[in-house]
Amino acid sequence: MQRSGLMQHKTFFWFFFPTATAMLLFIALPILSVVTQSLFTPHDQVFKIVESCGPFGCKQITSIDTEATDALKQARPLGQWSGLDVYLDRGHLAVSEVAAAWGASDSMGQFFKAIGNLPFYRAMSFTLTYTFVVTPLLIALGFMIALSVNSLHRHLKGLAIFFSLLPMIVTPLIGSLILFWMVDSRGVLGTGLQWLFSDPDLSLKASTSLTWVMLIVYGVWHSAPFAFVVFYAGLQTVPKETLESAMIDGATRWQQTRYVVIPHLMPLVTFVALIQLMDHFRVFEPIVGFNAEAHATSLSWIIFNDLGGETRLLSSASTTSVLTIIGVSILLSPVLVRTWRDFNAKG
């Protein structure tokens, strides 16, 4: 017995070894690297005044004295230790600005308006709204599509499944770009809406609330197929006996769904919610695709913006990445705790 137990451990080790290596290389190390980079900032720069000449004449300009900082860079290539400075600065948690806003505000409304002006909290307000509106809506919509497709005649099912999956197949960036042009005030959907509401000045892109609605509708449209596929697969496993006995007991279609189908699919709902909460917290492509950065930003968009400028802010981008990881963990903790309890109850 003992011998076979040892063998099992060894087998388990060799089975798990490739996965563990991959997890270490592609998950643990990058996170470690991002955390490290968020704790260091570049060395203080030494400036010198130099003459700069070009097609438009000569001018005295300030330039960086690279020789002066070279030795410092060689000695400490990571830069200077900054601890949590970047985490606490205005671009991130902005502790001193939040404290000042708290002191200066007479009401909660005023306080929220003041912190809504800080990049991190502005991004969070959109990200959380998006996440918590889109996720339940897409679960409901995906479930309804799955129920409808499941009750179709079998000849029609294939075609219906194919068309229901299309929004997910389209690359998010391309999908949002196409919709962006369609909802333009001169585009087909935009003009349609203007006609529908008989308001020739109606523009989805010029109003913050309408932009949010547009992004949320897009998010549901794009992610519903995922929920649909999962629920559709789940529907195939609903025990026929239970359904039949419910029918014999005189349960209506709604009662069958409510008391048999939904309880059966609950673990799948948890699974879809888990994946989608995580995905939507990292919302990025629609913001870029819809050119919506004036109205809505997200943590991922802040990272993109920090790295996309002429001067890259690596420490700032790393800090936002770490905050994103923390955010995802907090968001997922209730679902994970629940899964763990279910697992223990079964075990």
């Binding site: 070009g54 892109k205 002429e310």
Partner: protein, 411 residues
């Protein structure tokens, strides 16, 4: 078809071999990274005629070049042996010390370069400019005629003209502009702020100083202008603004010189719009004399972390790419070339007017890019009416200060 391809291939081969003799590159590796627009394609294609006989010339031209050029030049040896940059983007490469001084190469192989092409910083040649660019006025002659106004020379005249055009019912949104939140919006602020005589930084320091009367006047003018723009203006970059122009919806805009040639194409436009699209110099603002625009150059650099052989090959290929022989009827209107033998075309008069009326170059400061990003991120709140000009400018300074502290520009 087949015959055509063969003759084309033949003529390319002939061109290549003829040029090969001319550029005299015998060994080395060349890989060019740069932005993506017709003028740069023309330069790189001309440089590629030096390839052959063991010399390979590669290029990666993309609008996202700034995201990868620094990383691609930091390694030893550097992946890219040259980056095509502008006066704003050369700063990031100089800050990290990844481009080499070109004095020795210019002395040996650059006799044909003109003095004003050489970008000299602290007495060292760091880049070779090949074209100039600036934003200036573009107007619709027919609409201005109907409204009975002259092409505006100041933003105040532009506002008056726009009001008249709207009043007469000629166009609902007569003014165009690349006001997309981010880089474009910040650039429009820079232009008008310079026109008002504003200074971006305290002299000799990295401390930003945009929260002042010039800054407030700039924002108020931008708000007034946006009242005459398509309500979606915060999503309109240069491409979208040009589409609006081509659709005939706009009569006045401040636009890049390099973006004007496509407006003269009837594709996606109409003959009326094409025939009546004309350009003039940049406008002034608030009675100032400095035009509300900035001057730009595009030029090429050579990487520091490469062998002397590769540096020499890169230099020679790019000298060939920007030599008088690359100018022809097709390439000449693509840009305002700084190359010897360039005869300005009609499309160049706006940029020339900018240079001759005392416009200033876009500042080449190590921290200008950070201020530009901060402006781009914080000004949309004001444009949307969510906060007043002073708060928006205070936000800009605060956002800039946080970033500049992180980068070690401010202590």
């Amino acid at each position: 078809m087949f015959l055509k391809e063969i003759t084309m291939a033949g003529s390319f081969a002939l061109m290549a071999s003829a040029a090969y003799a001319e550029c005299n590159v015998s060994a080395g590796r060349v890989n060019i990274i740069g932005n993506e627009f017709p003028a740069i394609h023309a330069v790189v294609n001309a440089a590629k005629t030096c390839a052959g006989n063991g010399v390979e010339i590669k290029s990666n031209l993309t609008a996202d070049h700034q995201l990868i050029n620094l990383a691609g030049m930091t390694g030893k040896p550097a992946e890219y042996t040259s980056a095509i940059v502008a006066n704003s983007s050369i700063v990031a490469l100089m800050n990290e010390d990844v481009i080499r001084p070109l004095d020795d190469l210019v002395a040996k192989f650059g006799q044909d370069l003109r003095k004003n092409q050489l970008i000299t910083i602290d007495g060292k040649i760091m880049a070779v400019a090949f074209m100039a660019n600036a934003q200036h006025l573009v107007f619709r002659q027919d609409i201005l005629d109907q409204a009975g106004v002259e092409p505006p020379r100041s933003y105040e005249e532009l506002l008056a003209a726009a009001a008249k055009i709207r009043e007469m019912g000629l166009l609902e949104y007569p003014v165009g502009g690349a006001y997309k939140a981010g880089w474009n919006l910040a650039q429009e602020f820079n232009n008008i702020y310079i026109g008002f005589g504003g200074e971006f930084f305290e002299p000799g320091s990295a401390k930003a100083t945009v929260n002042n009367e010039a800054g407030i006047a700039t924002l108020n003018l931008m708000k007034e202008l946006s009242g005459y723009m398509n309500p979606d203006f915060l999503t309109h970059d240069s491409n979208a603004t040009n589409s609006e122009w081509k659709a005939g919806n706009v009569a006045l805009m401040n636009m890049w010189g390099s973006r004007v040639p496509p407006l003269k194409d009837t594709e996606g436009s109409s003959q009326v719009v094409v025939d009546n699209t004309d350009i003039a110099g940049p406008m002034t603002v608030g009675g100032g004399s400095v035009p509300a625009t900035t001057l730009w150059w595009d030029g090429w650099t050579v990487a520091r972390n490469i062998s002397d052989e590769d540096a020499e090959a890169t230099f020679k290929a790019l000298v060939q790419g920007t030599s008088p022989s690359m100018l022809n009827a097709e390439t000449a209107p693509m840009a305002v070339w700084l190359i010897e033998g360039y005869e300005p075309t009609d499309a160049a008069k706006g940029v020339f007017a900018a240079a001759n009326s005392g416009a200033v170059p876009y500042p080449m400061l190590p921290f200008q890019g950070l201020l530009h990003s901060a402006l781009g991120a914080e000004l949309s709140d004001f444009m949307l009416g969510r906060e007043d000009a002073q708060t928006a400018l205070a936000d800009v300074e605060a956002a800039y200060t946080a970033a500049a502290k992180e980068k070690g520009y401010l202590q």
